[in-house]
């Protein structure tokens, strides 16, 4: 890469123009809010320093039917599903890149869950699994029930249905990023493999995946990092009821509930404490995934 080292009077103003506004924004939006959040976690209801919020968290976590405990359990379950299913998502991009029959159609259709806003998707999905639909009727018959169950309003089924909804909607994976990266693989590389008589499995595992490994790993870490901060469809499908609560949904529900009544410092202090504890769980998980990725292939570039 040739860096621009030519001295001219516009060089420094351009660098300042390009770098200063986003960095200032990063300082305010990311650094300041996260530091502020860190300190808020150690403020009690009177504004004094202390561990009141953490004591409350431990107390609520140990209560019967604790939403936070349930949220953590469901979040870790979601993490496991996303982690296990990620290689399949890479395969989806691979087969589309390899022009599986109908690939042009899939390239459009697989992006639809991103195009159709999630409020609409959830409204349709609720009716698809509702008591007037075939799915609920079939589940009722299979379970030997003499009634059609409300799948999203029944603790026995709701969480499974929410997880299946997530698997269904996330089936294509990061198609744009992986597809774009695959398309940059030189044809000669694959052609050479073909001449050597490689099978598709060898081509995928020994040629393509090692070449795009930095992208795959970064994407996987970012997906996992996002998981703890995104409410997904839980908020829209069940509002966290019937055993479906996740940590991010719980935090969002608290924030949404209290934002209606204006700024309420103690609620936000408590949310900050919960966030801090979740960060302490999520960061090692994300770093663990990264370490695992670098063990599989030592060219992880971040």
């Amino acid at each position: 890469m040739v860096k621009n080292r030519i001295k001219n009077k516009w060089r420094i103003p351009f660098i300042l123009f390009a770098v200063v506004p986003p960095l200032l924004n990063l300082l305010v939006i990311y650094i300041y809010t996260n530091f502020s959040s860190f300190f808020m976690a150690f403020r009690d209801s009177n504004g004094a320093w202390g561990f009141e919020q953490f004591v409350r968290l431990v107390r609520e976590f140990n209560m019967e039917g604790s939403d936070i405990k349930l949220g953590l359990r469901n979040t870790l379950l979601t993490f496991a599903i996303i982690f296990i299913s990620f290689p399949f998502k890479v395969l989806v991009s691979y087969f589309i890149y390899k022009k599986v029959p109908g690939y042009k159609f899939y390239r459009v259709a697989f992006f639809l869950p991103n195009i159709i806003f999630s409020v609409c998707v959830s409204l349709v999905f609720k009716r698809a699994v509702g008591p007037t639909g075939v799915i609920a009727e079939t589940v009722g018959k299979v379970m030997g029930l003499d009634y059609v169950p409300e799948l999203l309003a029944d603790g026995r089924f709701a969480n499974i249905v929410v997880l299946l909804n997530m698997i269904w909607l996330q089936f294509p994976g990061p198609l744009i990023i992986l597809g774009g990266t695959f398309s940059r693989i030189p044809d000669e590389v694959l052609e050479a493999g073909r001449v050597d008589g490689t099978t598709w499995i060898t081509e995928f595992t020994q040629l393509i995946v090692p070449m795009v490994w930095p992208t795959v790993t970064l994407q996987m870490v970012l997906t996992i990092a996002g998981l703890f901060g995104s409410t997904g469809q839980v908020f829209l499908l069940t509002g966290g009821s019937y055993g479906t609560m996740t940590i991010s949904s719980w935090m969002y529900l608290q924030l949404q509930q209290y934002s209606v009544s204006g700024y309420n410092s103690n609620v936000y202090n408590y949310l900050s404490a919960v966030g801090l504890v979740i960060t302490a769980i999520a960061v090692p998980l994300a770093l663990g995934v990264r370490k695992l990725a670098s063990k599989i292939n030592n060219d992880v570039e971040f």
Binding site: V2, K3, N4, N8, K9, W10, I15, F17, A18, P21, P22, L23, L26, V28, S36, S37, M40, K98, K99, V100, Y106, R107, A109, F110, P113, N114, I115, F117, S118, V119, L123, V124, T132, V134, W168, L175, I177, G179, G180, T199, W200, M211, P214, L218, V221, L222, F228, M251, Y263, Y268, N269, L271, S272, L276, T279, V283, L285, A286, R290, F302
Partner: protein, 286 residues
Amino acid sequence: MFEGLKRKSIGEKALYIVVACVFMLVALSYVYILVWTFIAGAKTHTEIVMDPFSLPDKWNFKHYLEVFEVFKVNNSNFGDMLFNSIWFAGAGTLLTQLCSATFAYCLAKYTFPGSNKIYVVLVALLSLPIFGSGGAMYKLYYNLGLINNYAQVLLSYAALNMYTLYYVAYFQSFSGAYAEAARMDGANDFQIYFKVVLPQAKPMFLAMFLTQFITEWNTYESTLIYLPKRPTLPVGIFQFNSEMIYNLRLDILFAACFIVVLPALILFIVFNKTIMTSVSLGGLKG
């Protein structure tokens, strides 16, 4: 359509056909969301509730016109919500993309104190799942008077994020030949960037802009908290939902849903190829 099957063994052809069948089922289920929404918008409320998967006895396309009169939330009508969506998704996205692209170009093509560290720090910040700042963010917006304020776009969108990483990857392999030629002709750094580099990077910029625009057009979570009195169309639908169930007008709700989906859908179909082939993250190994 079957070009992917050329020069494949029988076993691989069979595999590709099985994969295609699975993909087709999933793809059709996604298309069905759209088709169902469109049909529901032309049914009656009773038909949607009693028999959600049937075709309507009579197609009531007038519901699609009624939306523009009936779809109102908290003193905001369809036009207000459309403006809010365009402002936050359109202006906000443009701001993010310009900031991200300019920052990334500078990082990729200029050497300045700390330039080689910034990218590493940025990736680390984006990869680390740090949570709980929602309360602090609300406090910041509240103290700055940015709750329900259109100016919020300046603070929340002029940001570094995932898009910056895509742009850095793009500009690292970007040919500097035209920029150098322009410099030889006397162009300054601003002229080079805005008149030479950005036009050359148009496919990437367009792909990134559209990807983020579609995401922002559809988002409801942050808007619901930070801009409750400036509802965008998805937030409007979210709030309209309970009202329409109460008023027995699910037909209007789904007609409104379909209308709100259309802009993003049209943009994606028109620019599908640009979006799908212009974006990559990081270089290739080997």
